[in-house]
């Protein structure tokens, strides 16, 4: 019986961790996408101050996600997004139009990662 209780606790903990991670990923992905939108909008508007602020916000949000959840994040997208976020900052400094393209690619990758975490039938199978 004790073994059963221990197992029930372990399963409950794993499930709780899985659910927490699922909801956190969902929120973090939405937040990162919002930051990317803000970077793109401020770049298109030519607002240097807003761009600087939104870039700092984007990097802060991304780093927080990357650092806190490195032990469960197992996806090639993550490395790609990491490189893109670094590139966006560099493109903003150079005032390069490629920034818009990179923002959209990063957003697509974040959305793709977000979708992959949904325990839908296609993801499971």
């Amino acid at each position: 019986m004790t073994r059963m209780i221990i197992c029930a606790v372990i399963v409950a903990l794993i499930t709780a961790l899985g659910l927490l991670y699922f909801f956190y990923t969902d929120n973090a992905a939405n937040s990162i996408c919002d930051r990317l939108d803000a970077v793109e909008a401020s770049f298109s508007a030519g607002d240097g101050e807003a761009l600087e602020k939104s870039l700092a916000g984007l990097q802060e949000e991304w780093n927080r996600f990357n650092k806190k959840y490195f032990f469960i994040v197992d996806n090639e997208h993550m490395l790609e997004i990491d490189a893109l976020v670094a590139r966006i900052a560099s493109l903003a400094e150079k005032d390069d139009d490629e920034l818009v393209h990179d923002c959209r690619v990063a957003k697509a990758l974040v959305r793709s990662y977000q979708k992959e975490q949904i325990p839908g039938i296609f993801n499971i199978l």
Binding site: R3, M4, I14, G18, Y21, F71, V73, D74, Q117, I124
Partner: protein, 220 residues
Amino acid sequence: MLIIIIRTAIVYLLIVFSLRLMGKKQLSELQPSELVTTIMISNIATLSLEDSTSPMLMGMVPILMIACLDVFMSGAVMKSGRIRKIVSGSPCVVISDGKIDQRMMKNLRYTVDDLAESMREQGIFDISQVQYAIVETTGKINFMQKENPAENPPQILIKDGEIVTDALTKSKLGDGWLRQILRENHIDKDRVFIFSADDNGNYIIVPREYDSKTKKGGKQ
């Protein structure tokens, strides 16, 4: 993470089902669920060790899930005879009264060579000497030779407080005899852990739970 949990559960159940589908011949000493646990845990452990780029938690979660599922499955198997039958199967008689049940052998996908090999392993070289051969849930075949005084092997008539109706129907003793013996021994069937008897009326009663007293008796 949720995907891994669900995948683990699905793969576990799928392998148990597949092994049951493959039949007893694929198993050696382990019960199907034990074999699944062993195979899966060793494979997952190897994968998480081989791929150092993937987080360790990705290997730990499935292993924990499998271990927990195995305990839950063991609990369910202990509690329910029906689940036990589905998961572990039941012993099958392939030689009864010295006659080979060819249909059963075909169902189990046992060849004459397999049977002969198992006989030789147990020091029996003449098939005509075999009274009974039973394929256990682990896939092992046990033989009873004709020299044995009992015409039929003892059957378990009560298991965990439940009357095994199939065995009782097959035995020549009948429900009335069983109830009489229980009355004589002042024991309710719910308190019986194992009640085993042969056709000559020789029986053994093992009371349930922590009562270690074992009562033995015979035909009056």
